[in-house]
């Protein structure tokens, strides 16, 4: 893996993600993202915070094109993701892992099969149908299950797992892709506080081992502060804060979430 890139080399490093003037309008004239520009460097966890409806989910889904951006460019690994189509888009998506709030597992499949779903970008439909996956992938899946603490669950069906266990499978599935970027959309919102911390730790650890950047949408400001190297505050479809978590003040939070009194109430 490449050494951490110095700040000045971001533009030259293909592994950095560069979003330029990203706009997304679900209905014409009502932008959810109103021109977002971001550079996300080689490694570490970037937390995106902001109120519901600020466009966090849309931003993260535009990156791997689960949502079609209206305009703007998304540069990653030397290509503009926003311009890709068909097979080229699928090839690009292989390099971007994603973790979901509701885990998005196939409930009726075993944990192992769910993990192998992360390899679908590399495997033909027929081989997937016959479950003829590469033995090396299966080997790696077992190793990953050990890493996430589910070593004995390979043949368990996904609907037999608890929320935290399911999210571990979701993370392992994303890592099975051997991604160069990990996206996570509210990965802890459906979990209890302790499990949420464990999940954040696990994501940080696995991404650190692969030396790749992670972008996490997160509601919980405390978790964002604790695990991220950088916090991006989104409000009204625009970036209103961008800095290290230590520099995030109450005034900033008021700017991001709006209003004055909500922090005292909690």
């Amino acid at each position: 893996m490449a050494a951490p890139a110095p700040a000045g080399a971001i533009a030259a490093d293909g592994r950095a993600l560069s979003i330029r003037d990203l706009v997304k309008e679900y209905r014409p004239g009502q932008p959810v993202l109103a021109g977002v520009s971001l550079e996300i460097a080689g490694r570490g966890l970037t937390a995106v915070i902001g109120p519901s409806g600020a466009g966090k989910s849309t931003l993260i889904r535009c990156i791997n094109r689960l949502v079609e951006p209206t305009s703007g460019r998304i540069l990653f690994l030397g290509q503009d993701l926003a311009a890709l189509r068909g097979a080229a888009l699928r090839r690009a998506r292989r390099h971007i892992g994603m973790v979901f709030q509701e885990y998005n597992l196939v409930e009726r499949l075993s944990v192992m099969e769910n993990l192998l779903c992360g390899r679908l970008g590399y495997v033909s439909a027929f081989r997937a149908w016959a479950r003829r996956f590469d033995p090396a992938d299966i080997e790696r899946a077992f190793a990953l299950l050990d890493t996430v603490g589910l070593g004995d669950f390979a043949n368990r069906r996904a609907d037999a797992l608890s929320g935290g266990q399911r999210q571990r499978v979701g993370i392992a599935r994303a890592v099975m892709q051997e991604p160069d970027l990990l996206l996570a959309d509210e990965p802890t919102s459906s979990l209890d506080p302790k499990t949420a911390v464990e999940i954040m730790e696990l994501m940080t650890r696995l991404a650190g081992a692969r030396d790749i950047p992670v972008i996490v949408n997160i509601h919980n400001v405390e978790l964002a502060r604790r695990f991220s190297r950088r916090v991006i505050g989104l409000a009204g479809g625009k970036v209103v804060f961008d800095g290290v978590p230590e520099s995030l003040t109450e005034a900033d939070l008021n700017r991001i979430y709006g209003g004055e009194n909500w922090q005292e109430a909690t």
Partner: protein
């Protein structure tokens, strides 16, 4: 290390054996059927020409036949389907209740009810129609009874299954306050199965409209009689009118069922 020698298998050996047995059985059945069935392939080659001939004979349509014979038969078909469905529901409800093991906790009675339901379903409506034509003579009465007896199995089975899947809670509550059995059924079971009941009844009525259209082929009344007459005389232009009428009725019934379903469910 033992850990690294783990092998992933999708199925247990037992599951694999059963699946293999199924595939083997299916392949054998299909292979044997294909080999043994009495099919003359030349007939298949002849098909396009025959179909073209069919359409030539159908055109132009003899619309006069509609007023002469089809319209009245159509009304009769509607009566056969509707009355048959109502009759079937009346007969199927008690049988379905007897088949529900939570309602009637006596196994022999459940099995007897299930036997009645299976017999009703196994005999086709056309065969039921043949039987009733033999008993009551040709006409709509035979058709109505055929539809009713064929539907008992369908309605009774689904209704019984709906009863068996009701929640225990409300029923226990009613038992706990000492409600008599009839009240337990009306206030405990019925509200839970009512949507399923209407859905089953509408579904069966929709099927019965289609089925009653063919009963006339064996003399059990309805639009099938008009079709049979036209076919026997090889008047394909008249047969085409009947077929189009059936198509229209089936479409109308489907629209009606969709509308009623969205209203009451």
């Amino acid at each position: 290390m033992i850990r690294d020698q783990r092998r992933w298998q999708r199925f247990t050996p037992m599951q694999r054996a059963r699946r293999a047995a199924f595939y083997l059985l299916a392949a054998a059945a299909i292979g044997q059927s294909l080999r043994a069935v009495d099919v003359i392939p030349e007939f298949l080659q002849d098909m396009p020409e025959q179909v073209a001939d069919l359409f030539r004979r159908m055109w132009p349509l003899d619309w006069g036949y509609y007023g002469k014979a089809v319209h009245e038969a159509l009304i009769e078909t509607f009566h056969i389907a509707t009355l048959g469905t109502i009759l079937a529901i009346g007969l199927a409800l008690p049988v379905g209740m007897l088949a529900a093991s939570n309602l009637v906790p006596w196994r022999p009675l459940n099995l007897l009810a299930k036997l009645i339901l299976v017999s009703s379903r196994s005999v086709n409506s056309l065969v039921w129609a043949l039987l009733f034509v033999a008993v009551f003579g040709p006409g709509a009465l035979a058709g109505t009874l055929a539809i009713a007896f064929r539907s008992i199995g369908f309605v009774g089975k689904l209704f019984g299954e709906a009863l068996e899947s009701t929640a225990r809670g409300p029923i226990e509550a009613l038992h706990a306050v000492g409600a008599p059995p009839a009240s337990v059924f009306l206030k405990g079971y019925w509200p839970q199965v009512q949507p399923a009941f209407w859905s089953i009844a509408l579904f069966r009525w929709d099927i019965n409209i289609r089925e009653s259209a063919v009963l006339g082929l064996v003399g059990a009344g309805g639009i099938g009689m008009a079709l049979d007459t036209a076919l026997t005389l090889l008047y394909w232009d008249q047969a085409a009118v009947v077929l189009l009428t059936i198509l229209a009725v089936v479409a109308a019934a489907e629209i009606a069922v969709t509308a009623i379903r969205s209203r009451i469910l």
